[in-house]
């Protein structure tokens, strides 16, 4: 079966091609094509995972291009890490496919939606299966394209169109860094193959400075894709896309690709302590930075988006402090519970006729039972409450940060954990408890929506058990044959601290939004400046607009003027001067023979005079 792993991405690709050509005829039946393809992929991925756990591995490559003596190959490979990722991607994608059947039911471009989803699934699975980092980059860009298409799915909304462009462009900035990193890596190692890269780096064939530069360039790509500070600005805007897309692409899979990239390139990062520090600090800053914004936002999807940014920063923090397994473990658990939260939010939004403001919600607990319960499970999981999935992985990250030895990072990790619990339960209490404040009475959605929620809720509970301190299943699986130290779990007091912080966050949220013991507008009353700053997302969008976008356009305009007036001006001047001088001289040909004669004679005399002077007869 493992030799047929290439079929896993091919099924969704076939779905995409079918829908591309016959989508219009199929209309809403298109969803069955997509769901079938993903189901097949999922089954295959499970089989592949079992074989991989059994110890099998498989690599297949063909020549892609050759220049000089060098050759670049493409193919596929099954490793421990990507076997895990295959499961994560196919599960979430399958559930999102099913969920969208209902969510997108009334959209008359549902077939287009499913074709894009198919293309995305293909690209994401291809990214995961890549045996070399160039192929990863190729699919990396393709998932970016899918993200662009899906964020801009409702292209007629100007916000969606702008968000799609912003998403693509912002990640593109990181991608150029990544591309440069890869090119430098290739020139240093002579290959894009993971195995060749690992052995070259571990053997110290790449100079210290060069390794640092390469690692940081590669990390730039991850910063863009995983929405790390300062390139995170696209992800909240990407929430303009349909909610299932946000769940699949902008929570569970694509945005985690940056973390995955750092994971697969881990030996390169390990070779440079500077790069590791950069990763850790970027992650930490992002984690707390995004968490603070999530504290005050009122849009259900944007809160989740900032939460995603924050959690991705958390994973980066883990990787940067040496917590290889912890980071990737959190990537997996986060995929499940964040997909759950997004789909839960989707269920709410769908029931409320596309209202997203949590101030207009409330009391949904009584009205939407399944959604509320599953959402609560997701919220508890992300807060890190024992024994849900988030607890195990978050505790692993705290352990990594602690063992990394940098107190600053550890404190940030703890504070972020507190904030995470707080803003998630702020959201929960505002939306699901109290009185309903909207205008359309909501009802629970159909089974097509609640079943994916239930499945994800089960995963959010259970996924953590693959790597507990009592059985390090995932850790042994992932680190097999890799030289990465660290246990994914720390001492008991860390676990207790982690739960205590989470409970404190939940408690504070309950006091403010559940019981009402503390006024809701506490922050905006006491420190209006800070509140305003957070509400405006630290004014980063405005800053980028002023510092990067407007000057670039201004420079462009300036050069356009230069081009027209000066460069083309010279060209036109030459042309005009030629014609003008011709016309001017033509005027002198007035037909007066005697004038002609006079000029001729003067000319002749001048020639003679010049000749005489040159020959030295005169003067």
């Amino acid at each position: 079966m493992i030799q047929n792993a290439w079929l896993i991405p091919v099924f969704p690709l076939i779905a995409f091609i079918i829908l591309l050509f016959f989508g219009r005829a199929l209309k809403e039946k298109a969803s069955y094509v997509g769901i079938t393809a993903l189901a097949l992929s999922f089954i295959l991925a499970v089989l592949v995972l079992f074989e991989r756990i059994g110890g099998e591995t498989y690599t297949y490559v063909v020549k892609w291009i050759g220049f000089g003596e060098s050759t670049i190959t493409m193919g596929y490979e099954v490793t421990a890490l990507n076997a895990m990722m295959l499961i994560v991607v196919t599960v979430v994608s399958l559930l999102v496919h099913i969920f969208s059947r209902e969510y997108m039911r009334e959209d008359d471009r549902i077939h287009v939606f499913y074709s894009y989803l198919g293309l995305f699934s293909f690209s994401m699975l291809g990214l995961v299966l890549a045996p070399n980092v160039l192929q990863l980059f190729i699919f990396w860009e393709l998932v970016g394209l899918c993200s662009y298409l899906l964020v801009g799915f409702w292209y007629f909304k100007p916000e969606a169109a702008a968000a799609a462009k912003k998403a693509f462009l912002t990640t593109r900035i990181g991608d150029v860094g990544l591309l440069i990193g890869l090119v430098l890596l290739f020139n240093a190692v002579g290959s894009f193959e993971y195995s060749a890269v690992y052995s070259a780096v571990e053997a110290g064939l790449v100079g210290d400075t060069m390794v640092t530069i390469i690692a940081i360039c590669i990390f730039l790509g991850a910063v863009g894709k995983s929405a790390q500070f300062p390139l995170h600005v696209w992800l909240p805007d990407a929430m303009e896309g349909p909610t299932p897309v946000s769940a699949l692409i902008h929570a569970a899979t694509m945005v985690a690709a940056g973390v995955y990239l750092v994971g697969v390139m881990y030996p390169v990062f390990l070779a440079s302590s500077t790069a590791m520090t950069v990763v850790a600090y970027t992650g930490a800053i992002t984690a707390i930075f995004a968490a603070t914004i999530a504290l005050v936002n009122t849009d259900i999807k944007r809160i989740l988006a900032y939460s995603t940014i924050s959690q991705l920063g958390y994973m980066m923090l883990a990787l940067g402090t040496g917590g290889y397994v912890a980071g990737l473990f959190h990537l997996m658990t986060h995929a499940f519970f964040k997909a759950l939260l997004f789909l839960g939010a989707g269920s709410v939004i769908f029931a409320l006729h596309h209202r997203q403001d949590i101030r207009k919600m409330g009391g949904l607990w009584k009205r939407m039972k399944v959604t509320s319960v599953t959402f609560l499970i997701g919220a508890l999981a992300i807060a890190g409450i024992f024994p849900l999935a988030g607890f195990w992985s978050k505790e692993g990250i705290l352990a990594a940060a602690w063992e990394g030895g940098d107190m600053f990072l550890f404190i940030i990790a703890v504070v972020t954990a507190f904030m995470t619990a707080f803003y998630m339960f702020r959201l929960f209490f505002k939306a699901f408890t109290g009185e309903f404040r909207g205008d359309h009475e909501p009802h629970e959605n159909t089974k097509l929506m609640t079943i994916p929620l239930t499945v994800l809720a089960i995963l959010a509970v259970a996924a953590g058990f693959v790597n507990t301190p009592f059985s390090l299943g995932l850790e042994t699986f992932l680190t097999d044959g890799l030289h990465v130290g660290h246990q994914a779990h720390g001492e008991l007091w860390l676990a207790v601290l982690s739960i205590a912080v989470a409970l404190a966050g939940i408690g504070l949220a309950w006091a403010m939004y559940g019981k009402g013991a503390i006024r809701e507008d506490f922050l905006s009353q006491k420190v209006p400046g800070v509140h305003k700053l957070l509400l405006n997302k630290y004014y980063l969008d405005e800053l980028y607009q002023k510092v990067f976008v407007s000057p670039t356009v201004a420079i462009g305009k300036f050069f356009w003027e230069v081009d027209r007036l000066f460069i083309d001006g010279i060209v036109n001047f030459v042309g005009r001067a030629t014609r003008g001088s011709g016309r001017a001289f033509a005027k002198r040909h007035d037909g007066q023979l005697q004038t002609y004669g006079l000029v001729t004679i003067i000319g002749g005399l001048v020639v003679i005079a010049v000749a005489f002077v040159l020959r030295g007869y005169i003067g």
Binding site: H589, D590, L593, Q594, G597, I601
Partner: protein, 102 residues
């Protein structure tokens, strides 16, 4: 023995007078006459060189005869054109004949 310089000076003066006439007079007949004057200036030079030049020989005088006959032909053609012009344009004023322009 008269110096050749004097003959050349005479030729040059005649030539300049002729040239001046060609360039300034508006009456075509006078312009033609001035052309004759210039040709004769050349003739003087030729004759002078032929008799007292550093390589005195008969070639100069032969050339002079050529020039005189060409001048005669030129006058004939010139006057013919002049008459044709007058018949067409009712004028032999040089300034009025400026068709040869841009």
């Amino acid at each position: 023995m008269v110096s050749i310089t004097l003959f050349l000076a005479l030729g040059a003066i005649l030539f300049c007078i002729g040239l001046y006439g060609v360039l300034t007079r508006r009456h075509l007949v006078i312009v033609l006459a001035c052309v004759e004057l210039m040709l004769n200036a050349v003739n003087i030079n030729l004759v002078a060189f032929s008799s007292i030049g550093p390589f005195a020989n008969v070639t100069g005088q032969v050339f002079t005869l050529f020039v005189i006959s060409v001048a005669a032909a030129e006058v004939a053609v010139g006057l013919a054109i002049l008459i044709a012009l007058y018949r067409n344009r009712d004028s032999i004023d040089v300034i009025k004949h400026d068709l040869l322009r841009w």
